[in-house]
């Protein structure tokens, strides 16, 4: 029974996905069916299952470990999926997205993310990576008639499979080193040869790093991010930017801080450079953007840099900081993309900066919520982003990475500049023309409200989540 218990969250979401698929298959043409509701039920069930599995350390089939770490990430990913479905239910018809396939793919992608966070075997991580990615490739191009969308989808697919091939090659070399694809076997093998690691180990580590760096969109493997985020439907972008990143960072953490732990001194140096470059490039290029989706894409690249800083400061504080940052970033980012999705009309749907002009006068609540999300991403108290950034920088300073911390805080200040651009457009432009915002219903409003409440809650009373994050770390590392 332990086997099934460990995979219970994933199982529930898979069942929900299959139910969605069937519902879509049996749906008569033009019949309205609350397919999204099935997804919501599945995700809520998964969160409940994760809660029940807490502190149990169930192991499934030898390769899936439902320890607190993977349960934490599972819940974060499920919450992201929930918000995405809630926001999508408003815009799916308006944007002409085939709803059945859309929800099915979203749910399957969530399964892939959950699996990626819980897997302790490289093969399973690879398969989970592919499940998650393939679903997201399709989601990116799901508006088949949109030229930008299909282009984005293809570019994402191209570079994604490219990096999967690198990842696979890296797994092959890890297999060579340890004779098994399991992470603990790899860890033992590397520890034994830690004093003189052969070329295989370096190859394995480098190739795996390339694969992960792509998925996390670290520089210089970030080139796909702006195009993919800009071309995809906005709710999909919100899903991608938070969920895929969460799963990839979780797997990255697990692989590099348990398997490659003995070689930490060597890869820390390289990763520090990557992190600093990522922070700087994400912020500096983001400042030049005029399309909000592209701007937030670069902002998510910068946030990946901060997450990497937490991985570099590999102490217990650093790891729990990464988890807390994932949670707070997810809530704020998915909320921001939700707002962008809501203000798009059929004609005006590319997410330009000028779309936000005077939003405060047309829909004040929406503008306020967007400001809350953007300020949280910028790291202002009393929002969650401030505590998250402080926690990560505290972890870095604690381990002696002063340059990293200073680069991090300075790029935070620069990034505020592009978040403020949107705020200025919303609040301070004197253009009096009323912005036309299509109506959206109670589900979307509820989603935005929950995201905003979560942002404030994590910013003012972060203790509970920080405790949970710390408990998550202690079970595996």
């Amino acid at each position: 029974m332990d086997n099934l218990q460990a995979i219970m969250p994933m199982l529930i979401v898979t069942l929900a996905a299959m139910a969605t698929m069937l519902a879509e298959a049996f749906r008569r043409k033009d019949e309205r069916m609350p397919i999204g509701g099935l997804g919501v039920i599945g995700l809520v069930g998964a969160i409940a299952a994760a809660g029940l599995l807490w502190d149990r350390n169930a192991v499934g089939f030898g390769v899936i470990q439902a320890d607190n770490f993977s349960l934490f990430v599972t819940v974060v990913v499920a919450v992201i999926g929930l918000f995405t479905i809630m926001f999508s239910s408003e815009v799916v018809e308006r944007e002409g997205i085939p709803s059945g396939e859309y929800y099915t793919l979203t749910l399957f992608s969530v399964v892939g993310m959950m699996m990626m966070a819980s897997a302790t075997d490289l093969l399973v991580i690879f398969i989970a990576l592919e499940i998650m990615s393939i679903a997201v490739y399709v989601l990116t191009g799901i508006k088949r008639t949109d030229a930008a969308g299909t282009e984005a989808s293809f570019k994402y697919f191209l570079l994604g499979s490219f990096s999967s091939a690198f990842f696979l090659y890296g797994i092959a070399f890890s297999y060579a080193v340890s004779g098994s694809t399991r992470l603990d076997a790899l860890s033992t093998a590397i520890a034994q040869s830690a004093s003189a690691p052969g070329p295989m180990v370096w190859l394995a580590m480098g190739l795996l790093l390339v694969g992960f760096a792509f998925k996390v969109s670290a520089v210089p493997f970030h080139m796909w991010t702006p195009d993919a985020y800009e071309g995809a439907p906005t709710v999909v972008t919100g899903f991608m930017s938070t969920g895929v990143k969460a799963a990839a960072v979780a797997a990255f953490l697990r692989v590099f801080l348990s398997a490659f732990e003995p070689l930490r001194g060597d890869w820390t140096q390289l990763l520090t450079w990557i992190a600093m470059l990522t922070m700087v490039v994400g912020t500096v290029v983001g400042v030049a953007q005029t399309n909000v989706k592209r701007m937030l894409a670069y902002s998510s690249i910068a946030h990946a840099g901060y997450l990497l800083a937490g991985i570099i400061a590999a102490s217990a504080i650093g790891k729990s900081a990464v988890l807390f940052y994932l949670a707070s970033y997810a809530v704020a980012n998915v909320g921001a993309f939700g707002v962008i999705a809501f203000i798009a009309t059929r004609e005006r749907n590319t997410g330009e900066l000028t779309d936000f002009t005077g939003l405060w006068y047309a829909k004040p609540m929406l503008a306020v919520l967007m400001a809350v999300f953007l300020l949280s991403l910028g790291g202002f108290p009393p929002m969650a982003g401030f505590i998250a950034k402080w926690y990560i920088f505290a972890a870095a300073v604690n381990e002696g990475f002063y340059t990293l911390a200073i680069v991090g805080v300075l790029t935070s200040v620069v990034s505020v500049f592009f978040y403020l651009r949107i705020v200025v457009m919303m609040f301070m432009s004197s253009n009096k023309a009323e912005l036309e915002v299509p109506p959206f219903g109670i589900v979307g409003t509820l989603g935005l409200a929950l995201a905003a409440i979560a942002t404030f809650y994590l910013g003012i009373l972060p203790t509970r989540l920080i405790d949970l994050a710390t408990q998550s770390i202690s079970t595996i590392f």
Binding site: A394, V397, A405, L410, V413, M428, T463, T470
Partner: protein
């Protein structure tokens, strides 16, 4: 009873109450204005209650409240006040309702949101002055930025967006380096004692190696110097002041700039005494340059508001000079001048705001001969101007005199600092009186000025307390100096690492309380 927490958060609770009132079409503007004023007056009453309950002879922090907030790093919700922070909190409580009342005439759109931002700003400012946990201080410090940014950016004048972003980015850039230094202090504490701590008093006791102390001091000093503002980091100030709405300018000049000097006094100097003493002459040099530079630039300004903005740079140079003198007189003068500047410059911005409300211009050339048109306004204007230039009998004199005396006898600063600073006093008289004369005396040159209304009842209620305080603070300074004396003593002792004395200077002595300590 958690009076201090209540004082901090009451304005925000009031703001939440205001947020619930629907006012999309502006029909309830009057109700909201009155409610906001009421809430700020209650907050002011609470600060006065704090003063009433404050033991002026006590050397320790009072009204202390302390609970664990984030236990991973031992971050606590730890607040308390001593004499200096008490006075600054009362100043905040005093100026907020005055600013709100002053904006009844000038802020007409989105009145509800304006009031909400002002009240939230008040919470953040009182929080800054009460925080004894360094992380909590930083949270409140950053929390001040957002409401002020919106106040300038939405309700300001023509170049408000540029000014508000400049203000925000400048201030934030300085403070993030301070954040790294704060984390470093907590980490050092952990290395030395085994547990993290952001408790200010424990950090005072930390043994910090000299190189690290130097860097940390510079990080802290940078953040505070940008806020003060210290020359040459002052360039955000003229733009922010000019483009801000009247209420924003009053709060910015009256309270927010004091956050910088308060930070120097409470955090930067006492946490790193050796580094501070080493850097004090350099900082004092910048302060003195600021005094003279601010005065000279103010002299040539055609815009009244910009003139007052540069006068702020000049006057706060005095405060920093007093702090850097590291003598009891100097620091006490600096603390008192913090209060004075709030009153006098706040008053100046209020008056300039009233003039610009009437004529929609702030250029000196557009006015002239106002004394015959609006005698009451000009009378108040005169008293505030004289207070600003430190005429004996008004509040500015006591402060500047103490500062000059303190820096003259300082062990850290050479006498030349005092000499140059004293010339700043003369220069400030020049530009202020010249401006005053051009605006108010002589013939009424511009026909549009002939029909301007004198002070309305509302405006009289705004100006009268300010003018009255300027006089009271000049004639009875000991009421305000006495609560601050133990805090000042403690800071100077800390700088010289002598054990703290707990006696207070009795009131029967000369009003300048510091003459005995050296």
């Amino acid at each position: 009873m958690a009076l201090l927490s209540f004082s901090i958060f009451l304005p925000t609770l009031g703001a939440l109450l205001l947020a619930l009132i629907p006012n999309r079409d502006g029909s309830r503007d009057g109700l909201i204005r009155q409610l906001a004023l009421g809430i700020s007056l209650v907050a002011f009453a609470l600060t006065l209650a704090l003063w009433a309950g404050f033991d002026v002879n006590g050397a320790e922090f009072q009204f202390v409240e302390r609970t664990m907030w984030i236990d991973v790093f031992n971050v606590e919700y730890y607040i308390g006040i001593d004499g200096v922070s008490l006075m600054l909190i009362v100043l905040t409580g005093f100026l907020t309702p005055i600013s709100l009342l002053a904006s009844w005439g000038s802020v007409t759109k989105k009145v509800k949101e304006f009031s909400i931002f002002m009240l939230v700003l008040e919470t953040a400012m009182i929080g800054v002055f009460s925080a004894l946990d360094v992380f909590l201080f930083y949270v409140f410090w950053d929390a001040v930025l957002i409401p002020m940014y919106f106040l300038i950016g939405v309700w300001g004048y023509d170049r408000r967006i540029y000014a508000s972003i400049k203000f925000l980015l400048f201030t934030m850039a300085g403070s993030v380096l301070m954040l790294v230094a704060i984390i470093l202090l907590a980490v050092l504490h952990q290395q030395q004692t085994g547990s993290y701590s952001f408790d200010l008093l424990e950090l005072y006791a930390l043994q910090i190696p000299a190189g690290t102390a130097n860097l940390c001091f510079l990080a802290f000093a940078l953040a505070f110097s940008i806020k003060v503002p210290l020359f040459p980091l002052h360039t955000w100030l003229p733009d922010a002041h000019v483009e801000a709405p009247t209420a924003g300018s009053v709060i910015l000049a009256g309270v927010m700039l004091k956050m910088g000097t308060y930070g120097l006094m409470r955090f930067a100097f006492p946490l790193f005494p050796e580094a501070a003493t080493a850097w004090a002459p350099f900082i004092a040099t910048l302060a003195v340059i600021g005094i003279v530079y601010g005065a000279l630039v103010a002299m040539v300004q055609p815009d009244m508001k910009k003139l007052v903005a540069y006068s702020s740079v000049s006057h706060l140079g005095f405060v920093v000079l007093g702090l850097c003198a590291l003598t009891v007189n100097g620091v006490q003068g600096a603390a008192y001048q913090m209060l004075n500047h709030g009153i006098s410059t706040g008053g100046l911005f209020l008056i300039v705001g009233m003039l610009s409300d009437r004529r929609h211009t702030r250029l000196i050339a557009e006015f002239g001969g106002l004394k015959s048109v609006m005698p009451k306004l000009v009378a108040a204007f005169l008293i505030i101007t004289l207070s600003s230039i430190a005429m004996p009998g008004l509040n500015g004199f006591v402060g500047e005199f103490l500062i000059l005396m303190g820096s003259w006898r300082s062990e850290v600063l050479l006498p030349r600092f005092t000499v140059v600073a004293a010339s700043g006093v003369i220069l400030s008289a020049v530009y202020m009186l010249w401006m005053f004369q051009r605006v108010n005396y002589g013939e009424v040159t511009n026909p549009k000025n002939e029909t301007l209304p004198d002070l309305s009842v509302r405006e009289w209620c705004v100006l009268a307390p300010v003018v009255a305080l300027a006089v009271v603070m000049g004639v009875f300074p000991n009421i305000f100096l006495q609560p601050m004396a133990p805090a000042v003593e403690r800071m100077v002792q800390r700088m010289e690492r002598r054990p703290a004395i707990t006696q207070v200077i009795p009131q029967a002595e000369a009003p300048v309380a510091g003459t005995q300590a050296r």
